[in-house]
């Protein structure tokens, strides 16, 4: 039989050589064991794990571990590649695995669905770790249509939860990060991710957790450990110190169940985009948006998408710009204008009864008319794929379209998110854009970005897009990212989240006392340091 590979397919295969398709994106160097571990310890741990979950769910040789090594983030030395993976099916198995980890001092790196794309996927912060892959634990434990809550295991994808709601005809929405089909409420919330409906700040709408502690004990937060835990998903705080935050962006426990609130489907949903032509317009957009967000007249997490980011979704760089230097704003504006984009494209939506929407629409239109924004709706934007994409996201719809950005710079698939935070004030944007362009430009990378306003804060979401099949470019991307963290840090702009390749560096931005406090907690909770050493710079 003859097989026709298309051009991109051939390119992909060519990168890795004929025998092993697609090694690009997989760390090349041979992975090393964790500090202080001998080969015999590793072998012992693996054998003991096999006895717990069955040999078919433990992966420890070079080839078998490959699916857990694929990553978009730069890792020129291969130090973030895991040495193994184990996939438990129950909480009891997780407890047993944690005990084995303590016995052999084998660090475990927990993931839920492991699709932390542009932050490391299932690669690890420090070398020598075995991925504790919780994807098989994918039970939807309960859905309460009256309280509008759900309790799920880590392996439940957004698609699974949505399927359940659709199948049972429950008028509840989910809120997804941009890559909903393959990602999970638990994984996303634990990394404090965001989505784009009014429930977009995921940790805000999280309620109750079950956690396997590093000593194997089970902790239920909030109301979950009372004699009648019926309010577990209704009341976040429980009694005494609030603990749930300790298990986000941390390495203090393995979350095995998580409660969450679901938004009742509104009677009417109406998405908008506001177009602005010039780069510097973003300052006044932020000024106009802040009061609307704080007063909740606009209730969802708002995105201000740059033309560069939007174009990268559906086009390749070479179609717009064929020079090695960073693509200019003028070129982006010209290409954007052809497909109905401004330089800034601000997406938000209104939700409620027709009367509520009519009243708020008048306020919003006046606010944007005052800053020369073109306010557009489905009526004008029908058939525009960018509008359709964001209209999907702002109602919790499922899509992977945006992954197209990873092919902007070439087939190789390289992406690292850089996401510094600032207060939602217009004057913060100008300096950040100038600094980002300066550092990216020095390394030959484009400014492909968005701003998001959750409520009072501004996330500057910069996609560092590079060609990972080119080892030189991968090194350059790594160096560029480090400069971004340091350069922004000097100005007091620190990231809300980062990838496994830069966790220590970002932790440094938050100061010595913070780091020491986290280290004290870590040592008290996990004296053998068997859970995800290096996560968020906590070693």
């Amino acid at each position: 039989m003859t097989v026709t590979l298309d051009r991109r397919g051939l390119l992909g295969a060519g990168v890795a050589g004929a025998a092993s398709v697609g090694l690009s994106g997989v760390a090349g160097a041979k992975p090393v064991l964790a500090k202080g571990m001998r080969k015999a310890d590793f072998k012992g741990a693996i054998a003991a794990m096999r006895a717990v979950v069955g040999p078919e769910w433990v992966f420890a040789d070079e080839d078998a571990v490959r699916p857990w090594r694929k990553t978009y983030v730069p890792d020129p030395s291969g130090r973030h590649a895991p040495v193994g993976a184990v996939c438990p099916g129950t909480v009891e198995e997780v407890q047993a695995l944690v005990k084995i980890a303590n016995q052999f001092r084998q660090p475990l790196w927990p993931v839920s669905t492991g699709k932390n794309m542009g932050y490391g996927m299932t690669s690890t912060a420090a070398p020598g770790q075995v991925v504790l892959d919780l994807k098989r634990m994918n039970r939807i434990i309960s859905v309460d249509p009256e309280l509008c809550t759900a309790l799920v295991e880590p392996g439940v994808t957004y698609r699974q939860l949505k399927d359940y709601l659709v199948e049972h005809n429950l008028p509840l929405w989910i809120d997804v990060p941009t890559v909903g089909p393959v990602a999970s409420p638990v994984g996303n919330t634990l990394d404090r991710g965001v989505g784009y409906t009014p429930y977009g700040e995921h940790f805000m709408v999280q309620c109750g957790m079950e956690v396997v502690l590093p000593n194997g004990e089970i902790l239920r937060t909030g109301m979950g450990s009372t004699r009648n835990p019926s309010a577990w998903q209704a009341f976040k705080w429980g009694y005494g110190p609030y603990l749930d935050g300790l298990f986000t962006q941390s390495n203090f426990g393995v979350v095995t169940k998580m409660g969450m609130w679901l938004m009742p489907a509104p009677p009417v949903y109406k998405p908008f985009v506001v177009r602005h032509k010039r780069v510097e317009d973003v300052a006044k957009i932020v000024e106009a948006m802040r009061p609307l967000r704080i007063s909740n007249i606009i209730p969802n997490v708002v995105l201000m998408m740059s033309a560069g980011y939007q174009l990268a979704m559906f086009q390749r760089r070479g179609e717009i710009w064929d020079h090695p230097e960073p693509v200019t704003d003028e070129a982006l504006m010209a290409a954007g204008a052809k497909v109905g984009l401004g330089y800034w494209n601000t997406y938000f939506a209104l939700y409620g009864t027709p009367e509520m929407i009519a009243a708020n629409e008048a306020i919003v239109r006046a606010a944007f008319a005052a800053i020369d924004g073109e306010v557009l709706t489905e009526a004008e934007m029908q058939g525009n794929p960018y509008f359709h994409h964001h209209a999907t996201l702002m109602q919790g719809g499922l899509s992977l379209e945006e992954v197209g950005i990873v092919r902007w710079k070439g087939a190789g698939g390289g992406l690292a998110w850089f996401a510094p935070v600032a207060p939602a004030k217009g004057n913060e944007t100008t300096g950040q854009i100038a600094l980002a362009k300066q550092i990216l430009g020095r390394h030959g990378f484009d400014y492909t970005s968005a701003f998001a306003i959750g409520s009072r804060e501004l996330h500057h979401i910069i996609a560092l897009l590079y060609d990972k099949s080119d080892p030189e470019e991968e090194k350059r991307a790594d160096a560029c990212y480090r400069e971004l963290v340091a350069g922004f840090g000097e100005r007091g702009w620190a990231s809300y989240r980062t990838g496994v390749h830069a966790m220590d560096l970002v932790a440094q931005q938050y100061g010595a006392v913070n780091r020491a406090f986290n280290a004290t907690l870590k040592h008290a909770i996990d004296p053998n340091h068997i859970l995800a050493p290096g996560k968020s710079g906590i070693a």
């Binding site: 097989v3 026709t4 298309d6 991109r8 992909g12 398709v21 697609g22 090694l23 690009s24 994106g25 997989v26 769910w57 992966f59 490959r66 699916p67 857990w68 694929k70 978009y72 993976a85 996939c87 669905t113 996927m121 299932t122 892959d133 994807k135 994918n138 039970r139 939807i140 859905v143 699974q160 949505k162 399927d163 359940y164 659709v166 199948e167 008028p171 089909p181 393959v182 009742p264 489907a265 509104p266 009677p267 009417v268 949903y269 998405p271 559906f314 489905e378 999907t392 109602q395 719809g397 499922l398 899509s399 992977l400 379209e401 197209g404 990873v406 092919r407 087939a411 190789g412 698939g413």
Partner: protein, 110 residues
């Protein structure tokens, strides 16, 4: 209060909430049951392949072994899918189905 909230939203955006296919049934408290090749394809692959992110892969008689390897290792912008996400049996069925099956003309190139 409950009344209006439980009305279905007026669809102001065509196709926005539509799933790629019919929902896959799962019982409360039980793991996701094994899926058919169509179900795996529509709940994962179809969001990229034929949707402007990856090349069309149906109706090209791509060898099943190559499909399996690509899924497990990922390739360039395509992430890898682990046995914990798509079981060995599911992947085997899917790869055969892709190799033997026809194209879907609704899918777009790119």
């Amino acid at each position: 209060m409950r009344g209006p909230l439980f009305l279905a939203p007026l669809a102001l955006v065509a196709g926005g909430t539509a799933l790629a296919t019919a929902p896959i049934a799962q019982k409360l408290g039980e793991p996701l049951p094994p899926r058919t090749p169509e179900q795996v394809y529509s709940s994962t692959c179809a969001y990229c392949h034929g949707a402007n992110v990856g090349p069309v892969i149906r109706g090209r008689a791509l060898p099943a072994a190559m499909v399996e390897m690509t899924v497990r290792q990922g390739r360039n912008a395509m992430p890898a899918f682990r046995p914990s996400e798509i079981s060995p049996a599911e992947l085997h069925g899917l790869a055969q189905w892709i190799e033997a099956g026809p194209a879907d003309l609704k899918e777009k190139g790119q």
